[in-house]
Structure formats: C-alpha cells, structure tokens
C-alpha cells in the first residue's frame, strides 16, 4: 500500500447503499457506465479520486446524495 492510498480517510458506503436497494455491483456498473473493476476500487476505499460525472450518475442511480455515499473516518 502506497502513501497515497492511506493519506485519506474517506470511507465509501457503496456496499450499504447497494444492500439497501437490493442492487448488485454488476447492475450498478452497467447502469452507471463504469467498469466493475473501478466500482470495486471505489467500494473498497482504494479510489484516490472520483469524477463529478461519476458521482452525479452514482447519486442519480442510487437516488442518494454524495454525503450518503461518502463519509470521513476518524483520525487514527
């Protein structure tokens, strides 16, 4: 794990949102137009940046706000 990977404390709640909506990652990927690999990177907090366009589509498909998708974890 590089320094960049651990320098942020943004936690993605995609798994929770998917579970609440009964949606799979594959279905979300096809509806958002992002590869499963990239969504998996996002879900597992390994993404370093998110495009506004991706965020907009994610929020639109999941019917949520950016704040529902992400939160900042406590400092260790």
């Amino acid at each position: 794990m590089t320094e960049d990977d651990i320098s942020h404390r943004v936690v993605c709640h995609l798994d929770v949102l998917l579970a609440e909506r009964g949606m799979t990652l594959t279905e979300l990927a096809s509806r958002v137009g992002v590869t499963i690999v990239n969504l998996s990177v996002l879900k597992n907090d390994r993404a370093r940046a998110v495009r506004f366009s991706t965020l907009t589509t994610l929020c639109h498909v999941l019917d949520c706000q950016p704040g529902d998708l992400f939160s900042v974890g406590p400092a260790s």
Binding site: D5, V34, R48, A49
Partner: protein, 211 residues
C-alpha cells in the same frame, strides 16, 4: 464513464515490424562489436582514417617517402581524408583501430534494446511507464557515448597509429576530426524527451485510482 487506463496492446503493424527490426539490429550490433576487435587481433596490421591538410600528389608522395615500408595511403575522391593501412602493428594497437567501431556497435545494441523496450511499453498502452524516462536517459547516454566517445576514441587510435608509423599531425595529416555534433544534439534532445516523459509519468500517476 471511466476510461480504461490500459488500452489493449496492438499487435503487428509498422510498430511491430520496427520492434522486430530493433531486436535484430541489437543482436547484429552486439555481435559486430565483439567480433571486430577479436578479428583484428588475427590480422597483422590495421587501418585508420586520417584527415589531410593538403592532398596534392606531391605532398602525398613526400609524406609516403617518410613513412616506413608496409604503410599504404589511399586518398578519397575529395582529397580531404585518407585511409592509412599499416601492414604490421602491435596487438593492442590493432585492437585500438577497431575499438571505435566496437564502441559504436555496443552503443547501437544498447540503444536498439532500449528503444525496443520503450516501443513495447508504448504498444502495450503504457507510454508513461515508470521505467520509460530512465530508458530515455540511458538511450541518450548510449547516443552520446557512441557518437562523441566514438569520435574521441577514433582520434586516439588515429594518433596512436600515426605515432607508430613515425608521423605526427601537423604535416600532411591532421586530426581530421571536424567533430560531428549530431550525436551530442540528439543526446540532448533525448534528455529533454526523458524529462517530458518524467512529467507524463507524474501526470499518469495523478489519475491512477480515478473513478
């Protein structure tokens, strides 16, 4: 939509042919670089190219009179350079006459191999591979060593052979090494390209992990 940062490698085409050509060039150059000095050791004499200050027939004949037996001079059509063939010289000097070509061969082999690696990574969709700036710096070094170093080594071997036959620059012969700066310019351009690639690597790393 997130773009796939690693497009699939393209196969065949001109780039593929160039890649194969570079590998062949590297192999041939390496073999040549090794064979030339070894082969020269099996020969009794050696040959160097020398510059001429004047190539009038009288000057050449006068110079030849002063040279020991077994030394032949072939003046080129322009009368500016000549090939000095010495029938018998010491082993180290024989090797020295082929060292410039050998050095160029080694540098060509190294350069072709580095270019092949660079081209391969570009074809694989990784132009800003972390190793590419270093490859370009090494390529620049190969061009500088082969081009400029080769000329210097040629001048050294020329002086050594002229010294061995009892002739010195200043008479008919001069160093004749109007230094060709093409390699130096190319080397500097490659260094600049390496710097550009280094910036490209940083930008590429910036978008890694971008969803």
């Amino acid at each position: 939509m997130a773009a796939d940062p690693t497009p699939p490698a393209r196969r065949g085409g001109v780039a593929g042919a160039v890649a194969v050509l570079l590998l062949v060039m590297a192999a041939v150059s390496l073999i040549t670089a090794v064979v030339l000095p070894v082969n020269q050791l099996t020969q009794p004499g050696g040959t160097v190219s020398v510059g001429l200050t004047s190539a009038s027939l009288d000057d050449v004949l006068r110079e030849l009179d002063g040279l020991p037996a077994g030394v032949a001079l072939s003046v080129d059509a322009e009368g500016t350079r000549a090939r000095l063939d010495v029938a018998e010289i010491d082993g180290p000097l024989r090797v020295l006459t082929e060292l410039p070509a050998s050095l160029r061969g080694l540098c060509t082999a190294a350069g072709a191999l580095l270019l092949w690696q660079l081209l391969t990574s570009i074809r694989a969709g990784r132009p800003f591979d972390r190793r590419n700036p270093r490859r370009l710096v090494l390529l620049a070094a190969a061009v500088l060593v082969g081009g400029v170093g080769g000329q210097l080594l040629e001048a050294v071997s020329r002086l050594a052979v002229l010294d061995a036959v009892g002739s010195r620059p200043g008479g008919l012969f001069d160093l004749g090494a109007g230094v060709d700066l093409t390699a130096a310019v190319l080397g500097v351009l490659l260094l600049a390209l390496a710097e550009a690639f280094r910036s490209g690597v940083m930008l590429a790393e910036d978008v890694q992990g971008l969803v």
